[in-house]
Assembly symmetry: C2
Homo-oligomer: 405 residues x 2
């Protein structure tokens, strides 16, 4: 186990330590689940209250113009863009990850009309698979899912789209975006990257690494609040020819002409569909603003150090295993395994250490760079050791209930 003075020294030397003050993290809590729901930014309550009382309550319909509501999806896209290595105009905030996956995958199919296969990784986050299953059925194409190591070989000439999650939601393994994009392009396919577990966690470089399309999540590392709007990215070279099958009036070139026929807006704006959810957008705005002045390379390095320290400490505790061991580039999270993962996690939560579980046996702990102190690692490991050593996780009160971990 790590001695506390060592962790205290790391906190003292942390160039991002100041960022924690941008959040309202409850006292006494070791919150290691920002990878599932980012904590509340300090500026969010006031921004949202103002939006409700003044913009909505007083401005009413006039606020679509006067308060800039109508441009929020594009303005937020421009704020998110530098966090993921993208041009401002390539990104819009809208809908959910699921919906945006559908839009961009349908656009990819339209760009590769002779090809009838969508390729993705087996064991990826379920919604990615469910969305592709629905799309494949409707469009009459095939969804092919293969293990990570078999992806390059599966890039046959019928593949229109390679869908990959950049950082895996359980294992934290990271794909080499440049290499996989190049392989896909060499095979004539396009790439769609799910950044749910890397936007705001890793130093993502979409433009540099040749991504065609990407989606990502607003409520995890971007701190936009529960169920926050997602974002979508289109590389500049596809601005003109990207034609999603899921189209709505906010993605029209001139929505307030109320024209009879759809005509796409320029660039990524065409990915908008329905009227943007302003309250949720404002909360996302405050969340994304917590990244002001943050160097994502520094953030990734900090999280990686924390993940490695946590994994190393956990490996010393009897009754758990660290599998896979975080090696090389890695998501800002770590899983440790226990046959009664859910009960052990419940016991940890009762002690104020909050992570989550993924079936069947993974306890997942996240280390977002803006909020996680090195001292939290020591506190979490001490609690884990105590829970396991005492056997308290076997108590009746830790029997799993509820749907969400």
């Amino acid at each position: 186990m790590l001695p506390d003075p060592h962790l205290a020294a790391l906190d003292a030397a942390d160039p991002l330590a100041h960022a924690r003050a941008r959040f309202l993290v409850p006292d006494g809590l070791v919150y290691l689940d920002g990878n599932s729901l980012g904590p509340l930014p300090a500026d969010t309550p006031a921004l949202l209250a103002k939006t409700v009382a003044e913009e909505w309550g007083q401005g009413l319909i006039r606020s679509w113009n006067d308060a800039g509501w109508i441009d929020l999806p594009v303005a937020l896209g421009a704020m998110i863009a530098p966090i993921i290595g993208a041009e401002a105009e390539s990104v819009v905030a809208c809908d959910s990850v699921s919906i945006n996956l559908f839009k961009l995958a349908s656009a990819a199919l339209a760009l590769r009309p002779g090809r009838r296969t969508i390729l993705m990784e087996a064991q990826d986050f379920p919604t990615d698979a469910y969305v592709m299953q629905g799309l494949a059925r409707l469009a009459g194409v095939t969804l092919k899912r293969v293990a990570r190591g078999e992806l390059p070989g599966a890039l046959q000439d019928d593949v229109a789209l390679l869908l990959l999650t950049h950082a895996h939601y359980v294992t934290g393994q990271v794909h080499d975006m440049a290499a996989m994009s190049a392989a896909a392009h060499a095979a004539g396919a396009l790439t769609l990257w799910d950044l749910s577990h890397s936007a705001g966690a890793l130093n993502v470089q979409l433009d540099r690494d040749g991504a065609d399309f990407a989606v990502g999540c607003g409520y995890k590392y971007l701190n936009g609040g529960p169920g926050a709007p997602a974002f979508a990215y289109v590389a500049r070279r596809h601005w003109r020819d990207c034609e999603p099958a899921l189209t709505g009036w906010m993605g029209h070139a001139a929505p307030f002409d109320f024209a009879a026929d759809y005509a796409p807006a320029p660039g990524a704006r065409r990915l908008l569909t329905g009227t943007p959810p302003i309250l949720a957008m404002r909360a996302l705005e405050a969340g994304v603003a917590t990244f002001d002045g943050i160097d994502m390379a520094v953030a990734e390095a900090k999280s990686r150090r924390q993940v490695q320290l946590f994994a190393a400490g956990a490996a010393e505790i009897t009754g758990i295993s660290v599998d896979p061991l975080p090696q090389g580039r890695h998501g800002a999270q770590c899983i440790i395994r226990h046959m009664s993962a859910r009960r052990v996690m419940n016991a940890l939560v009762a002690r104020g250490v909050i992570g989550d579980c993924r079936p069947p046996d993974a306890m997942r702990f996240g280390f977002p760079a803006l909020t996680t102190r090195f001292a939290d690692i020591g506190l979490a490991l001490a609690a884990l050791q105590a829970v396991l050593a005492s056997g308290e996780w076997q108590a009746e009160r830790f029997v799993p209930v509820g749907m969400v971990s």
Copy 2:
């Protein structure tokens, strides 16, 4: 023009006059645009502040269970159901009208596999057409748009789905839901009703009138805030066989099993896709709660009376026309036409009378029953008469700017 004492007497006798206290309508404003953005309910700021500070800020990830976040789409559906004449389990709150149109239209195509036409009304709200154009292209079916009077004759045996807006967004004309549903069913087609301008305005009876599917808007008459989540309805007879092509993990039978393959949740819950937007859902909750104890037949009758009074008064003012004249059953809105509609409306807004415009020449005024006083009609007509009589709308400052009216 109507004498003020007459209007005051109508307000005094209004059985819904008490409902206005459920909202924070700015003093001195005659707000006749609740059909585009409902005003702020008095309970919304506190509910939202609590959701942010306590549920998100303190509860963090635990609130998915502890605060019931995970069930909000279904709980809100059950709250909306009685307003639209539906069983509680037939309705969920989710996504936008555009997205829900896509889901349900794709489900209809799957239920009528031999049929290759979607039929809708020409001149309907653009997003409905744009969504269907995208779906038709992806699914390889035909979108057919005909004038209102030609709809019955166009119900040929290739029609899988008849998509209709219950109350038209410009003219306020209302379809006979029972008759059109029966005609569609007689032709072997299913019906999808867009309730954007009737949910919360008219006495909608989806179950009674034989609707198969429906969608509706949360931010107009339901007062859920700008861009609030929409809702979707599936009649009980389709709970088992409704299979949208747009599927996500929240619509899975067991989302937290993280199963590899999609399996639909029971009933309307399968229409959920991504993680629900909790902040927006809470605002919608407060908005829908403004309908507690409201008899929609009484609400429709009040709005109809107000629309007729406004139209009759407007018809007496030089320089405008009322076309179409509201007759019979009608949306809770009225349009009057002027060749410089946008400038006249800008001049009205400067006088504190707020409606909106629809190209090319329509000024639209809404009369939601919960907030509109009969006295507002007199104030709006007086302002309109003054604006036109003085010619002030011709002033330079009323030249149209901005995208949204």
